[in-house]
């Protein structure tokens, strides 16, 4: 297992958000965490990537392992060094900086400028539009383009595990499709992906496996295909 979450319990103050949640992601997979609002899927991702503290949450018990090592409570700026990159919810590009500077910031911790150039080539190949707009301020991009930039920024360090929080949020259906197709392409070139997604259908169509969250617990786990076909899921999440 590349990433293992063992019996994780998380509280925001006195409110319990996750109750003994366990999940795992193997090397090379795309795994989606789905479920209704407030079910705990975003909390789980925040607990993994170290952003829990800044949103006022706390891990009460359990552990998070990345290739065997505990990464519980490691702040996000140290986590990138271990090979985990995050595409945060709402894209969060550096809006006053240019596209090029945003990507440079993605490679901030790397001293070797040459690997940065290699990453840059790969990202421009993946997202042509970023190359065209490299001198433009990131704040002037459309939300779809910003999402690509945010993903590109996270790919600068060629992470082993790419985490995405609600990648389809605020995107047009057209861009949603593009973003998810690109995620599959990124995955095929060797990056493991774990994503949290409101749009269950989109996520399950593209993910190998999915976990379904309900009130702070995982209540179903299966392949994306099986979940899409499951009667329970169709009724409760896909609105059929």
């Amino acid at each position: 297992m590349l990433l293992e979450v063992n019996e994780l319990t998380v509280c925001y103050g006195t409110v319990q958000a996750l109750n003994s949640v366990s999940l795992g992601v193997s090397e090379g997979e795309i795994v989606a965490l789905i479920g209704p609002n407030g079910a705990g899927k975003s909390t789980a991702l925040k607990a993994i990537c170290g952003l829990l503290k800044s949103s006022g949450g706390e891990i009460i018990s359990g552990d998070v392992l990345f290739s065997g090592q505990s990464i519980k409570n490691i702040p996000p700026h140290d986590l990138v060094k271990k090979g985990i990159s995050l595409v945060p919810e709402g894209r969060r590009v550096f809006s006053s900086m240019t596209v090029m500077e945003n990507l440079e910031m993605g490679g901030y911790i790397r001293k070797n400028k040459k690997s940065n150039l290699e990453s840059l080539d790969r990202i421009f190949e993946l997202f042509h539009i970023l190359k065209e707009r490299r001198k433009q301020k990131a704040g002037t991009l459309s939300s779809g383009e910003q999402q690509m930039l945010s993903i590109g920024r996270a790919l600068m360090l060629q992470p082993r595990l790419l985490l995405l929080d609600e990648p389809s949020l605020g995107l047009s259906p057209n861009y949603m499709e593009i973003v998810f197709d690109k995620l599959q392409e990124i995955n095929r070139s060797g990056t493991t992906i774990l994503l949290v997604e409101q749009n269950a259908r989109m996520a399950l169509e593209h993910a190998g496996r999915g976990y379904v969250f309900k009130i702070g617990e995982i209540f179903l786990e299966d392949t994306g295909k099986n979940l899409l076909e499951s009667e329970q899921i169709r009724k409760s999440f896909l609105g059929e």
Binding site: C49, L51, S54, G56, P75, P76, H77, D78, V80, K81, S85, L86, P88, R92, V93, F94, S95, S96, M97, E101, E104, M105, G106, Y108, I109, R153, A154, M156, L157
Partner: protein, 292 residues
């Protein structure tokens, strides 16, 4: 055209620009009004006095020593006061009050050590100035202009092109995103305090070459810095510089027609006009999301 007033305005403006720039660099990363910036300015002047007058150290060495100590003071203020508040997620009002507390504490400390009387860094008689058009500029004033403009250019380049400068811009844009790419926000905030405070210190030293120093000098200085920063667009680097010069020139040209006693009033009138008509400042910084 009253060239002398214009020249005085440019010189005062260059000092304001330094204070405003330091203030803006800090404001961008922490997003609250660091009023204690003013006391760092006072400290700069008193340190220069200590090294140069009391300890007879070479003026240039005194200048750099004082600036370094001011940077350390900025770091110390953040570490001892703001950092614990940040951990506790204090509101901006608490930060403002804490900042004010630091200001008053240090101002009184300075008064305790050096006394409340005015001091001067001047050692000899005032040298005769050079004539430009109908204005007179003294060698000291030329120094003030050269050093402050040089610092402004260096800082502008630093923020725009260096790795740390870019990290500071990234933190100012989005702290979460910055930490996600591996920038340690606390370290970046410390750097901005060090650099901003060094600038405040430099401004304090430069002004003390021209006028007397006293423990209370920092308050009006930080107000001018804040006003200059707001005029330029709060948190904007070029805005702070431009706002500083604008304020200095406006104040000094103002007393061409109005009595000199109204000089300070002019800045506040300009502030009110800007807040009413163009709250985003010259560079139109959006401020809806930020609260002071």
């Amino acid at each position: 055209m009253p060239y002398q007033l214009l020249l005085n305005g440019i010189i005062a403006g260059s000092i304001y620009a330094l204070i405003a720039l330091g203030f803006a660099i800090i404001y961008r990363t922490v997003k609250f009004l660091h009023l204690a910036h003013g006391i760092v300015y006072t400290t700069g002047a008193y340190l220069a006095y200590t090294f140069f007058i009391l300890l007879h150290i070479h003026p240039i060495i005194s200048f750099f020593l004082s600036i370094i100590l001011c940077a350390l003071l900025g770091i110390a203020i953040d570490k001892s006061v703001y950092y614990p508040l940040r951990v506790k997620k204090a509101s901006n009002l608490i930060f403002l009050l804490a900042s004010f507390g630091v200001f008053i504490f240090l101002q009184n400390l300075i008064q305790l050590v050096y006394g409340a009387q005015i001091l001067t860094l001047r050692t000899g008689p005032v040298k005769e100035g050079y004539h430009i058009f109908s204005a007179v500029i003294t060698p000291i004033q030329i120094w003030i202009l050269v050093v402050s403009c040089w610092l402004l250019v260096i800082l502008w380049g630093f923020v725009k092109y260096t790795r740390l400068g870019k990290a500071m811009r990234a933190v100012s844009d989005d702290q979460v995103a910055a930490s996600v790419v591996g920038i340690n926000p606390d370290k970046t905030i410390l750097s901005s305090f060090a650099i901003g405070s060094a600038l405040a210190g430099a401004a304090g030293i430069l002004i003390s070459l021209e006028t007397n120093i006293e423990p209370t000098m920092g308050f009006s200085a930080v107000l001018k810095g804040v006003i200059a920063s707001i005029i330029g667009g709060i948190g904007s680097i070029p805005g702070a510089m431009l706002g500083g010069f604008f304020l200095g020139i406006a104040e000094n040209l103002g007393i061409w027609k109005i009595q000199a006693g109204w000089k300070d009033c002019i800045s506040f009138i300009i502030l009110i006009i800007f807040l009413l008509l163009r709250p985003g400042g010259i560079f139109g910084v959006k401020t809806e999301k930020e609260q002071i």
